[in-house]
Symmetry: C2
Subunit: 205 residues, 2 copies
């Protein structure tokens, strides 16, 4: 199976830049996660609305943290960060909401699955500029997590074309890439290279 690709926005672009980049790259990724933590809710709302109007398929869109923005737009997919809204309460009130959640250990992964989340995002996998000074989580954990949960397992953190091969070996369902796409000089070219490597790894397996 081809490793799935999630592009996670990095909150460094203004919304018009971000809209342009996302419209360019979305055909080459499986998911887009809007993670614009410092932008006010009204701007995030507007960005998502315009993205959908510009043709981003709604099933590719995941919204980080702001469930209220998702509800206003009728979106059914959110990513709840650590210290975000409580997952169980959220599932109770909105059973149809698909929720992605970060995990850092086997225990958290099992809890996330029990809480009904749609995918677990493990990280960070490698050293990365966005988590400066913090050690990566051991990749070795991914083996036992993989064996103990059935929901899709994604990796995040410092993922680039060269590192995809080791995540493929660990049987991850997908990878989430932030700075590797949104800090790249040419995000479209970066995404295409990642996609090509995902396809190549699938063929040689």
């Amino acid at each position: 199976m081809v490793i799935k690709l999630m592009a996670v926005t990095d909150d460094t672009h203004d919304t018009s830049d971000l809209l342009r980049i996302l419209v360019e790259i979305h055909p080459y990724v499986d998911h887009v996660q809007i993670r614009e933590k410092q932008k006010p809710a009204g701007l995030v709302y507007q960005l998502c609305r315009e993205l959908l109007e510009e043709g981003l398929p709604v099933q590719k869109l995941w919204l980080n943290d702001r469930v209220d923005v998702a509800l206003l737009l009728g979106l059914k997919q959110v990513h709840i960060p650590g210290q975000g809204l409580p997952l169980e309460e959220l599932k109770k009130l909105y059973p149809d909401l698909r929720i992605g959640a970060p995990v850092h250990s086997l225990e958290e992964a099992v809890q996330a699955e029990a809480a009904g989340v749609a995918y677990a995002l493990y990280g960070h996998c490698f050293s990365t500029a966005s988590k400066k000074g913090k050690s990566p989580q051991p990749l070795a954990n991914l083996g036992s997590i993989r064996q103990n949960i059935r929901i899709p397992l994604y990796g995040i953190g410092g993922i680039d074309v060269e590192r995809l091969v080791s995540l493929k070996a660990l049987e991850l369902d997908g990878v989430a890439v932030m700075s590797g796409i949104f800090s790249a000089k040419d995000p479209l070219s970066a995404v295409k290279k990642l996609r090509e490597e995902c396809l190549r790894l699938d063929e040689i397996q």
Copy 2:
């Protein structure tokens, strides 16, 4: 009529400190607005939950920005900041939600009332540390705003005991105080002094 008092949290206290302060002061204010912009949604959720458990009357509680936290807790009162969620869409989806909104002019005040907001918050009224380098909005506008809207009109920004008298003269329904309470060495004493002045101004009128 006695000027109403809204205590607006200033995002400088940790949640346990804030909980302690709010439990102390809430008997002396009419409204509490939780405005903890830098705290993750899960912490804000927890804080509001504990506040209610500690006896804060739910009708005093207004939650800034995070409609999703309000929905999870069954709260019906939110304050939507500038660049927050779109008011009309919000009222359409949640007609029972009571929404407070900031206004900076007569035009905005009239629009806010038309959008169905529960109160308009004009400011900032005086120079204040939390809006450093920005000129206050002219107090003179408050006269025409007062005459043109029926919803409660509150003032915010640099309000202290001495300045209450001029806001009372402008027939404001209430005042919202942030640093005057939460930056005070003794928030309880600060709130009591504000309350006493509100009562005194009502008597001498």
